[in-house]
């Protein structure tokens, strides 16, 4: 088999995102990651809902479906039910997957359908030109909130964990390498893999995540999670996460015993939930793989199994089926 390159995943369609959009970085990272992940192009399907991010499938030289607003997880579920062997990637935005499609996102996760969700979270409605989104912060001034948003934002990672999602991760749009690495792990995960990508919208929500994404802000304001490593961050690795009576807290490394620094355990769902609910500026933004549960059965596999058992149990005799339990003769 020939080795594929990023350009093999590039369609002949002009990419129509705004110049400087974070989507470009993600698209480039995905095109770069897929050849590394491997697998046949014809078995890959990109599914999306509606929004800027949802144009993604048009730019991927794989099978693809740009569906309707919020429903991508349901389409993806149907695709997996019909053919569990397909690699199904779902790329959509925060409005699509957390607002109109919140219901479907939640149910795909709790069923553990084997799909990989990249949620591009720019905390704004871009395609409709700048209304606040379900992840916008309280007080956000937008076209539809001239006096500031009064909606408490959704915490996507916490929502995913509450829905029993079996793989939960987070990274930055501009971080091609970590994004590729997380995609690789997501691709190897049997079940729903959820990756929140913190993303900029340079037209309607510029600098959305600049407190975490810039060279000069990142060390102080992000926490890179590594399984088995103590949670240490800061410009000089001088800050850390500790556990107190009130839950997780931030401290100076110098002020605590090394043993008191919380160690990341991506199999610990309770701790993952604590990480998922950390809020800037009291806490750094956690990045990396928060949680993995490789033991949950996959939905489509369970479905296939039932079909297989039913077939083994009784022959598929259409004549007998139509005949039914009771007949009579008319002569």
């Amino acid at each position: 088999m020939t080795t594929l390159k990023a350009k093999d995943y590039t369609t002949d369609q002009d990419v129509r995102w705004c110049p400087g959009c974070g989507d470009y970085a993600v698209l480039a990272a995905v095109r770069k990651a897929l050849p590394v992940i491997g697998g046949a192009k014809e078995n890959q399907v990109f599914v999306s809902g509606i929004g800027c991010a949802a144009r993604f499938p048009y730019y991927m030289e794989t099978y693809g479906m740009h569906s309707i607003h919020g429903r991508a997880p349901a389409f993806a579920t149907g695709i997996k039910l019909a053919n569990p062997q397909l690699d199904v990637w779902l790329v959509s935005g925060d409005g699509d997957l957390l607002s109109i499609g919140g219901n479907h996102t939640m149910h795909a996760m709790r069923r553990n359908v084997g799909i990989r969700i990249l949620l591009l979270n720019n905390r704004i409605y871009g395609l409709t030109k700048g209304q606040y989104s379900p992840t916008s912060e309280v007080g956000k001034i937008t076209k539809s909130t001239p006096m500031g948003s009064i909606d408490e934002p959704v915490m996507p990672l916490a929502l995913a964990l509450a829905a029993e999602c079996s793989f939960v991760a987070r990274c930055l749009d501009i971080d091609a390498k970590p994004l590729g690495a997380i995609m690789e792990r997501a691709a190897g995960h049997a079940g729903t893999a959820f990756v929140e990508v913190l993303q900029d919208c340079n037209i309607f929500n510029h600098q959305a995540w600049f407190h975490a994404s810039q060279k000069d802000t990142r060390p102080a304001n992000t926490l890179q999670l590594v399984h088995g490593d103590p949670m240490i961050f800061g410009v000089d690795s001088e800050r850390c996460i500790i556990r107190s009576q009130d839950g997780l807290g931030v401290a100076n490394v110098a002020d605590v015993d090394a043993a008191d620094i919380v160690v990341h355990d991506e199999t610990n769902r309770t701790q993952a939930f604590e990480l998922a609910t950390m809020r800037y500026p009291d806490f750094p933004e956690p990045l990396g793989v928060l949680y993995v549960n490789a033991d949950r059965p996959m939905y489509e596999a369970a479905c296939e199994d039932q079909v297989a058992r039913a077939k083994a149990d009784r022959p598929a005799d259409l004549q007998a089926l139509v005949h039914g339990p009771e007949t009579w003769q008319v002569t």
Partner: protein, 629 residues
Amino acid sequence: MPDSTTTPTNQPPIAVDDVAVRFAGDSGDGMQLAGGQFTATTALVGNDFATFPDYPAEIRAPRGTTFGVSGFQVHFSSNTIHTPGDVVDVLVAMNPAAFKTNIADVRPGGIVLADEDEFGKVGLKKAGYEPDVNPLDDEDLQRRYRIVPVPLSRIVREELADDDHGAKEVMRCRNIFALGLVCWLYDRPLEPTIDHLNETFGVKKGRQDIADLNIRALRAGWNFGETAELVGERYTVAPADLKPGTYRRISGNEAMVLGLTAAARKANKPMVYASYPITPASDVLHGMSGMKRFDVTTFQAEDEIAAVCAAIGASFAGSIGVTGTSGPGLALKGEAMGLAVMLELPLVILDVQRGGPATGMPTKPEQADLLQAMFGRSGEAPVIVLAAASPSDCFDTAIEAVRLATRHMCPVIVLSDAAIANGAEPWKLPDLEAIEPIEITHPTEPNDGEVFHPYMRDEHTGGRPWAIPGTPGLEHRVGGLEKEAVTGNVCYDGENHEAMVHARQAKIMAAQAVIPPIEVGGDTTSDTLILGWGGSRGAILEAADQLSAAGTPVAHAHLRHLNPFPADLGDVLARFDRVIVPETNSGQLRFLLRATYLCDAIGVNVMRGRSFQVQELVEGITRAMEGKS
């Protein structure tokens, strides 16, 4: 021991042609079971029949109240019949509420078997009667009907009492006692019911004692009829002159399940049935969930929208995607159906219609979703619309839906309704070999040199190639944005859009090539055509027969294909001076006929939460023919 060969001690049974019996009681009284079992017995005797289960939306309304009354009507005959019957010859009323809500449907002189023990003060009050006024004693009613008070509860309590069963278990056999009594009255054998009870309670549930208790109740009912001489005579209905063959009893929802499954096998494709529970379509989901061995996967989605989206996803990936619902669910599926129109993928949407709008009357039939099926989507989004005419017709309609959806790569809506979905009739088993295979091809090679164009059309069907993921070299994207013809690329060009609107319409019209011409029945030389669609066929046939017999010959025709109409419909309409369109809505087909053919059709419209009664149809048609409305 009573059986079909028992000679009654009194008179031999009187032969009658045609009988309708209604079992009515509390929704927990087991009326559906008693009615269903009586129907099974009737089928084995060889009568033609049609049934009408009428149950409340509430699962267990307060006992004894009128809104908790559940009924099951069986119409059986030595002739060919098509409806459950306008009026009933025998009403079994298990309590005052059942008596009150059903008595008006008994024909004058009809028999009313009432459990007199339930007509005490409490029972009367619950049903809204004055506690001191027992309708069983009402002289007006006694003149009008043959009211037969039966000490049903008392006999069951006394006859069945034993040390092993509590009063509750014993009293649960009241329905089977009533069934035994009606079996005696119409000379039906008890064996089928005994077998059924042994199977259901003994074999399946391991409660042979309960089976035995019910069998004792059944015989007690029969014996009571034979010895009490309350009714006097008995009746018998000779077998009907049905076409020779093997028959079974089938309801519309059962036939839909068999039809969809048969279609999947005829197409040699897996099927994904995605649905969300909704009355009266849930039984199709239940049925399909038992079809896994035929490569059917069922998916109970989180909502109606997810159900249709999953079905579309399944079709994209190469299964036959089907979703089922009722009117409110169809409304929710609208946007996704529009997407399926745009994606040009096969999709079957079943709508078991019920009274609307909104929650409306969930257990009652109505034909009021036709225009929703036609137009309930944004933009110009034509789909194929079919309607089943009877319970067994659901089988053929389901197969045709799959055939057309895959042939033209488009959504097909199948309309059924609560009456045919739950109603049953005899069904002469189809010759499965005679059903044409459903030919489906998935391309494996590019269709333009080295290039694959996902929107290159078949010149005959208008359909596009159904290339499925997993096929190397045919990777392509589909989506809700307007497509450029041939390439399928996103395209906002106005002229292309107009051409695509026409193309999507044209492929729906292309189905006319495989839609059979209209069969006009009755007196084809009449100047009047009665044109119906969907579940009202039986009532229209009987009404037309009655009119002809009474010296008013009319022609009649019935539409399964609502979009596109059969190609010859315009010509057929033009042959008649008068076109009368009976519908249980306010004139939706009539609206379409007027819009399509400038045909000044006259409506007969009834919206009473039930199917047409033959008599009201005869009167409505007569009025229409006299120029009154």
